[in-house]
Amino acid sequence: MTKVLIIEDEELMIKALEFRLKKDGYDVHLARDGAQGIEKLNSDSFDLVITDIMMPFVSGLEVVSHIKSNPMMKETPVIVLSSIGLERVVMEAFELGVDDFITKPFNLGELVIRVKKFVRQKDVFN
């Protein structure tokens, strides 16, 4: 079962993503902030990470940097969700190695399609 980690501090957003991905058969794990996300990443391995940018304690970009600088998990695809569509932020995220950037507001269905695409790519690669 594909393991997905969602790091998001907005309660409805994280629940909607959780329910939606679970409905599509993913094994969903949740973290309510960046620090918790890093903790989970260090203790478990995931096939995909979906993270918000603006979060308390540790930002989403710091989480991305943690993933991409770690040889053990740098191949894990990361999708960033953000309400900040600033060019500077988007570029910084891609420079850190983010695989996809989705600006809020977004369509839940579209996100699921993107998740499927990454999972398929990973399967082909493996």
Binding site: E10, E11, L12, M13, K15, A16, E18, F19, R20, K23, S83, G85, K104, P105, F106, N107, L108, G109, E110
Partner: protein, 381 residues
Amino acid sequence: MGIEFSVSNYLHDLYISRLSSHPLYIFLSLFIALFCVIGIAEVLIYIFFRRGKEFYKRKRDADLKERIITMLANILVFNDHDDPKVVVSHFLPRFSRLPLYRKSIRKILVAELSNNHANFSGRSAEVLTELYLQLNLDKRARKNLNSRQWDKQIEAIRELTEMSIKDECDKVLKFTDAKHPQLRIEAQIAFVKLCADNPFRFLDTVKEPILDWHQLILFEVITKAETMARPRFAYWLNSANDSVVSFCLKFVEYYQQFDALPNLIYLLNHYNLKIRGAAIEILGRMEAEMAESHLVAVYPHQPQKIKEKILNTLGLIASGGCLSFLTSQAKSKEFPLRLAALRAIKAHRKDGREMLDTLYNEGVLQDRAIIKHILDGRIKA
């Protein structure tokens, strides 16, 4: 135990056995002390119960909030092809069971709906709007639009905007010219967001000023709205409201609307110096060669600040057509004008450099010093 007994005996002795034998002031003091002690005890009891009640209420609301969030998350997990009305009518009975008659619960639900409506697009957003309408949560906001309190009106406008309730556009339009500045800006933002077919209609009717900070906010809202159709902003450059003119000038430049150049030239005779100055600067940044002769024509009748702006603009356009005019101004008695004219000449690159060399050779010591200063690449204008 012994102490307790002695305190009660002491109080009994003080207030009951010896009460009549006390002098009047002791008598009164005792009663005041007693009153204060009882008062403090009552206040403490009140605070204790109040806190308990608040704690209980907060806990109950937090539980309900969690329940509401779970219900909303469930409603969002539907098939993308389902009609939002069908989805909502399926979940409606569950939401109807919530104690929505309670203000706090209604507030939580509305806050969750409006906050999260901004996070989702497409069907998910449509479902949230549909739920908001089917639960009649819009009723209160619509009613508050007619309130006499501006804060309630603002709250209602925000809520309806966040939930994309477009049928209140005409009412919102009325508030875009409200006397209260906060209400006015909220209504203007709402109108731009809600009335997608003609979001700038309010500029036709607004008589109150669009303050500078309002312009900043509106500018951000408008430029960030990716799907909004941009009108021809030149249309409002002859508005009787000066703030509308200065607001539209920003958009003419931002969207590089070159068809507005004749209107910008017309503004060179505007009575308001701020608008006149802004039009001159924009003509320069848009490198409007056609405006050069007009700028030169109006130059003699302008105050010094505007003259400086004209010279700077001629430097930005730098077509070469005004070099002789700039040379004449480089000999002006006013130092700022001389400096601006020399900078404008320098902006003409090769021709300008040659002209500056000629002026340097012809000039007296002071002129030479200024030209040297202008030509020094380390000094920024």
